[in-house]
């Protein structure tokens, strides 16, 4: 086991790689980066349940596979149920002494479409039943595999092929749903938001998700340069901007306690984010100011609400009372990879390289 405390980028390269090269994801796609980091981060070997989407079609084209770990793709909406079947099968096979006990971690990789929209029921059911798996939502804010359509994760005002920037309607009219909070409301032991550029934060969260004794969920922002309309080499910078502008705060919910993780901060206006991507171009045109102001106001309000939510959970007192570390089903956040955040998130570095 490699301790995360001492984990260095160089050491990561020595970890088993879940994915080989030669897959068909676009250059600059964040999805393969997230997958490899997740598999790097796991202490145990992975068994993967995939939802239909870019990752699946680009990595499992018969007769080839880019996967170096066992993988099953069943359909678009049901990766969580498939994972629950694997978990239950393992338990029963061991109980019946049909196989030797072994250490492995079931990981689901599913897009935002598969998670926020079509698969929400399957996810919710599996979370409620408490199957142990790490669910990674590869969130690129749209149905990219089918040609950049809007999803429940798509931000208000975003251009997609089903929410075009027309003369009457300027991109997606609706606000996105707060899926991370919806998942947290299931009361599962570990829930987090992460982003692809901040590998240290992501790795630490995956480790903690893996250590949880029940289902865990990490919603990872994963820019899609095809759909977001930016250059492939800008993926990490865009991801960082999403955090810096408050579009994508980084936080975790450990046994119900909310806390910002170190790299969360909101220091830039939303227009910085819009300027970097073609999908928001129409919002920079004259006449769109009101729409932009409304978006800024709501981003600000959500940021304040998140800070308040996190502030409500003070760090546990050293002795007795409240949410003591001893009650936690997840190891306490003692990890040096997670720089301690002030509630405002000021003055900390994100771990991106």
């Amino acid at each position: 086991m490699i301790s995360l405390v001492t984990l260095k980028l160089q050491q990561l390269t020595l970890r088993p790689d879940g994915l080989s090269g030669g897959h068909g994801l676009c250059a600059g796609c964040a999805e393969s980066v997230v997958v490899r980091q997740v598999v790097f981060a796991l202490e145990n070997p992975a068994v993967v349940s995939l939802a239909t989407g870019c990752l699946e079609v680009a990595t499992t084209r018969f007769p080839d596979t880019a996967w170096r770990v066992p993988v099953i793709h069943s359909a678009f909406e049901n990766a969580a149920s498939t994972a629950s079947g694997i978990e239950a099968a393992y338990k029963a096979l061991v109980r019946k002494a049909r196989i030797e006990p072994r250490k492995f971690t079931i990981v689901v990789f599913a897009g935002d479409g598969a998670t926020y929209d079509i698969g929400l029921q399957w996810l919710s059911g599996a979370l409620e039943r408490g199957h142990r798996f790490v669910y990674i939502c590869l969130n690129n804010e749209g149905y990219m595999n089918t040609g950049i359509q809007r999803s429940g994760a798509t931000f208000a005002g975003t251009w997609t092929t089903t929410t075009p920037a027309g003369r009457a309607v300027h991109g997606k009219p609706q606000w996105r749903k707060d899926l991370t909070a919806i998942v947290a409301a299931h009361g599962i032991p570990y829930v987090a938001q992460a982003a692809v550029h901040n590998w240290k934060d992501l790795l630490a969260k995956v480790r903690r998700a893996e250590a949880a004794t029940g289902p865990s969920f990490v919603n990872v922002l994963a820019p899609c340069n095809r759909g977001w309309r930016h250059e492939p080499e800008e993926t990490m910078a865009i991801s960082r901007l999403a955090v810096e502008t408050g579009f994508w705060p980084l936080y975790e919910v450990v046994d119900g306690a909310w806390r910002l993780t170190g790299a969360s901060r909101k220091s830039k206006p939303v227009t910085d984010y819009f300027k970097a991507q073609g999908r928001f171009r129409h919002l920079l045109a004259p006449g769109a100011e009101k729409q932009v102001d409304e978006i800024q106001a709501r981003v600000d309000a959500e940021w304040q609400a998140l800070i308040a939510r996190c502030a409500a959970f003070k760090p546990p007192p050293l002795e007795g009372g409240g949410l003591g570390a001893g009650d936690s089903k997840v190891p306490p956040p003692s990890n040096s990879l997670l720089p301690e955040a002030g509630v405002s998130g000021e003055g900390v570095t994100d771990g991106s390289e």
């Binding site: 080839d64 596979t65 359909a75 149920s81 629950s84 079947g85 029963a92 492995f104 599996a126 409620e128």
Partner: protein, 435 residues
């Protein structure tokens, strides 16, 4: 870096020549051999069970690793009874009470790919909700077993029995076997795993149990001792498993136009192979249980001139009607289809070719089709025969409508008048329909 090559998991060498079904199909004479000596028969114990409980009883004995299901009438009897076994610690099974039928079959798919024996049960609308996953299960060659308590499809909402669900399932690549009594529901629940997991088949299996008529009918069921059932089904040992961490495998690949066609052709060969495999499994089961079943069940067909074809629990009443017709001098007979998929065409040909007129009883409408479902199967089977009977289509019993003796006698007299008139019309008669 190189891309790892994966072995095709869907290979099989089965072929589909009709001669593999039975050594030589010769009418019904060779088939109805219920008196064969069976030296290894294990004594069964008679108990009173309804069809749902009979299936649950078999599941307790089989002890699959996974039972994943969602409640729907008339299937609830099965999962409630099984939940009791689970709660009493009588099974080592993981019972997953999922949030929908789609999730039930999805969990079975994950479990089966992980090397477990996986079972689900549903009915009508639940099957409709599963539809996407039916093809995924068969396409991935996973021997999941489903107990389908046949029920009408909505709308209008109707919780009662007919075969609309089963008939809609026919093209999804599952082995489908229909029983006519709680005893058969129990016996087929046991044989199902042996057929599905056979290395030449490796396909999912649906045990069709008529909603209410069988699921809720309490009858004497002769149950085998637990050890005999466990011995008969053995353990499921797939070639590849998701839990084999040393030999990672990718299940559920994407196919381009380069391979999809070939995979579907292999799947067809595997499903065709399930016919002979099913016959062999039923014969083996007869040796253990003393209860002999055929893929089609013939009744008084050898010297018959007209015949009725039926699937499921109406068979008993059809036989009563055949007897009554015989008493009035009409040479009637009946054929029950046990194996719906693969459709046992060689056996149907052998059983029916010599008749003058055959009426096919469908408990489903083939909306807008050239023939109602079972009728179309029988017609296609007989088409290439140089001499074949005239065919007549009947629809009965939709949405739980009872089919009485009078309806069946009127069907027989319609067949008899077609026979004497010497010509058939491609029309459907709806038995028991209010005028």
């Amino acid at each position: 870096m190189t891309i790892a090559k994966v072995a095709a998991y869907a290979r099989n060498s089965a072929h589909e020549s009709a001669s593999r079904w039975i050594p030589k199909p010769r009418g019904c004479k060779g088939m109805a051999t219920r008196t064969r000596p069976a030296p290894n028969v294990v004594a069964s114990t008679p108990i009173a069970l309804n069809g749902g409980e009979a299936v649950a009883y078999a599941l307790r004995q089989i002890e699959p690793e996974i039972v994943a299901a969602y409640p729907i009438t008339p299937q609830t009897l099965i999962i409630e009874k099984f939940a009791e076994y689970f709660a009493d610690g009588l099974v080592r099974t993981e019972f997953i009470a999922v949030e929908s039928e789609h999730a039930a079959l999805s969990a079975c798919i994950g479990a089966s790919a992980a090397g477990a024996r996986a079972v689900t049960a549903t009915a009508g609308p639940g099957l409709a909700l599963m539809f996407e996953m039916l093809g995924v299960t068969s396409g991935m060659r996973l021997p999941v077993v489903m107990h389908l308590c046949t029920r009408a499809l909505s709308a209008p909402l109707n919780i009662l029995g007919d075969h609309s669900d089963a008939m809609a399932m026919r093209e999804t690549g599952w082995v489908m076997m229909s029983g006519a009594s709680p005893q058969e529901a129990y016996d087929q629940a046991i044989v199902a795993h042996v057929i599905a997991e056979n290395s030449a088949v490796r396909l999912p299996f649906a045990n069709l149990i008529d909603g209410f008529a069988v699921t809720h009918a309490v009858e004497r069921v002769d149950v085998l001792p637990d050890h005999a059932v466990k011995g008969f089904v053995g353990e499921y040992n797939p070639e590849r498993s998701l839990l084999d961490l040393e030999r990672p495998v990718t299940f559920g690949s994407m196919d381009t136009r380069d391979d999809y066609f070939e995979h579907k052709r292999q799947q067809q060969a595997a499903l065709k192979a399930a016919g002979p495999v099913a016959m062999h499994a039923l014969n083996r089961f007869a040796e253990v249980s003393g209860r002999r079943y055929d893929l089609v069940e013939c009744y008084r067909l050898n010297d018959a001139e007209i015949g009725l074809v039926v699937m499921g629990s109406l068979d008993g009443q059809v036989r009563v009607a055949v007897d009554a017709a015989r008493e009035s001098g009409i040479k009637a007979g009946a054929l029950r289809i046990r194996l719906l998929r693969p459709f046992p065409a060689p056996l149907v040909i052998a059983a029916l070719s010599h008749l003058t007129v055959v009426g096919v009883l469908d408990r489903a409408i083939g909306f807008g089709s050239a023939g109602n479902p079972l009728y179309a199967e029988v017609a296609a089977s007989l088409y290439h025969q140089p001499a074949r009977p005239g065919l007549k289509s009947f629809v009965y019993g939709l949405g739980g409508r009872p089919t009485g003796h009078g309806s069946l006698m009127s069907a027989i007299s319609e067949l008899e008048s077609i026979r004497t008139a010497g010509r058939t019309e491609p029309t459907t008669t709806y038995l028991g329909l209010k005028q």
